[in-house]
Symmetry: C2
Subunit: 348 residues, 2 copies
Amino acid sequence: MTTLRDLSRHLGLSVTQVSRALNGHGDVSEATRQRVEEAAKKLKYIPNIAARRLVSGRSGVVGFVERSFEGVARDTILFETVTGLSSQFSERGIQFVLHLTPEDVSADSRSILPVYDRLSLGGSLDGFVLTGPRRNDLRIRHLLNNKIPFVVHGRSSENPDYPFFDIDNYGLAQRLTRHLIGYGHRRIALISGPETFAYTQFRLAGFKDALGEAGIAPVPFLIRHAAMTEATGMIATAQMFADPKRAPTAIICGNVLIANGAYRALAALGREVPADVSVVAHDDVVSPARTDSFYPTLTVTRSALSASWGPLADFLIGAIEGRAAGEIQEVAQVDFIERASVAAPRPE
Amino acid sequence: MTTLRDLSRHLGLSVTQVSRALNGHGDVSEATRQRVEEAAKKLKYIPNIAARRLVSGRSGVVGFVERSFEGVARDTILFETVTGLSSQFSERGIQFVLHLTPEDVSADSRSILPVYDRLSLGGSLDGFVLTGPRRNDLRIRHLLNNKIPFVVHGRSSENPDYPFFDIDNYGLAQRLTRHLIGYGHRRIALISGPETFAYTQFRLAGFKDALGEAGIAPVPFLIRHAAMTEATGMIATAQMFADPKRAPTAIICGNVLIANGAYRALAALGREVPADVSVVAHDDVVSPARTDSFYPTLTVTRSALSASWGPLADFLIGAIEGRAAGEIQEVAQVDFIERASVAAPRPE
DNA sequence: GCGATAACCCGAAACGTTTCGGAAGCCTCA
DNA sequence: TGAGGCTTCCGAAACGTTTCGGGTTATCGC
């Protein structure tokens, strides 16, 4: 193993200068920088992270805390998150660890807070990635209070004062709703995720505002919140069509799984898409439910979940380095892809 | 943040003694040890890992290298592995990182070797966990040659000279085969995993040896190797029953997914389990395919995959600490659970 | 009462890096 | 000519831990 010391002796320079040269500091002439870099390459110098961390006071490791539960290993979204963040952070020279807290921790979400303290105070973790924020998320408040760096995938309020990466959930719901209204629909259903998540609230607001623009009052019966699964899509659709008089002429689905369920329910109910019922969805391009296997093809807003890991990594690193929250926030716009699942409603 | 220095001042002791007391070394009286420990607790002393690592020369991080591929996020076994190892290592004060190499690395498995070098030479990783060993696994030879600590889940040969944790694949195949022979079966099929994996070879050997004991010659037509999926079970079963004269009276399935496929194929073919065909399997108790949802209930050998993460963690830590390979190896026995899927074959 | 032994303790060095404060050499401008 | 400012460099300290070599007592056997 070659050290800075070895390099400095080999070059007839001080350790200081070698360090500064390698780290691109100002105080070193272009000529020596070249020399140093060549020597470093030739002697296969690899900086010792432990030493670097000892002086910087940082560990070079960031984490993601998740409560372990029966079946955690089947959570595709979680795994997508882990693999995505793993790759992005390691490209940036930082290690990413998944920390599973034992499941015997009480279900009270407050009980997860000390885990963050323990991991960060020991100096073993420099920061955290949070996902699935609630409207008033305890974790966020706790981390802010304790000045522990973090970044959120999503956000808990409109204009938060912490780093985050989110998609425009309000906008996509508004867009899908307007699209349907443009075709003449007025009885529009929304099947979305659990109410506790903040993004669900944003989507609901976008939906309602778009309805409002057209002078349509939202109908509670046509608004459903549940887990984002195919079963949810089937059940919600089936229930809304139990009484034909109350049934919607169009359905907005929170994701592709729900849309899949809706399609299957509609097929079973003998309703045709889009002749009888129009269907749209938001597609986050995540594994098992492929939007291109739909018949008829599905009109969607789209934004790949996988596009968020890079910005999240950048922002967390920024947060650790002390950048202002305002500089490390992004609301990504979504694509709108018009396909064959929307038509004008049947005349009454 | 409290340091050893703070503690030593607070106690009127030297830093040396405090360190030795906390680490349980010999040279310190019981009384002071008590005092030190209390003070440490009171002042919330947490050792600085970076400093510890700087002097020990180790990073305290171990890794798992996997080639990233389209759909890596859907690989349940991989995720089970990651979550299991994550938990076990973090309980032991060690961090576990999943390192996904970019998928543009050529498919040649040799190309993954430099990744290990890079990660370990830089001092960022102390050791590795390997899974799915082949018969002559390049990675194993490479790590041995370069004296990089590792542990293998499985093994590439009967009595290897490196740390590993494996189940008795030879024994379980032998056991299942003998069980069927005991009921009078002679035309026994084996549907197992891809040939390249070492464990497949062990199972094949156990199967053949058990047949040999009974004077039965193995029939190549009844031995199938393919991915361990439900589809494999269906297809292999369907093909073996294409010509009734060549069909088996019993099937040994490599895992529960295959057994599930076999059950479905047999149902479609109008064969009853166990009256027409007996079925047994090995159950590694992994998520989606639950053995208890079988009808009739399935006779299996069983060993939970989840039981391997603990020993693997222990063994890798042992390897890093320089323990001899012989002390950190284990072949776990499997359970045999007799249920309702086996009966005597129909008389010809 | 003396040397040996054991039990307990300490100072200082080491790990490899970053950074602070200063210093030498050179140039510029008055 | 000399004050001031760049540019380029260096020594030394610091980060917090472990460990090596040695030191001080007290005890014990003779």
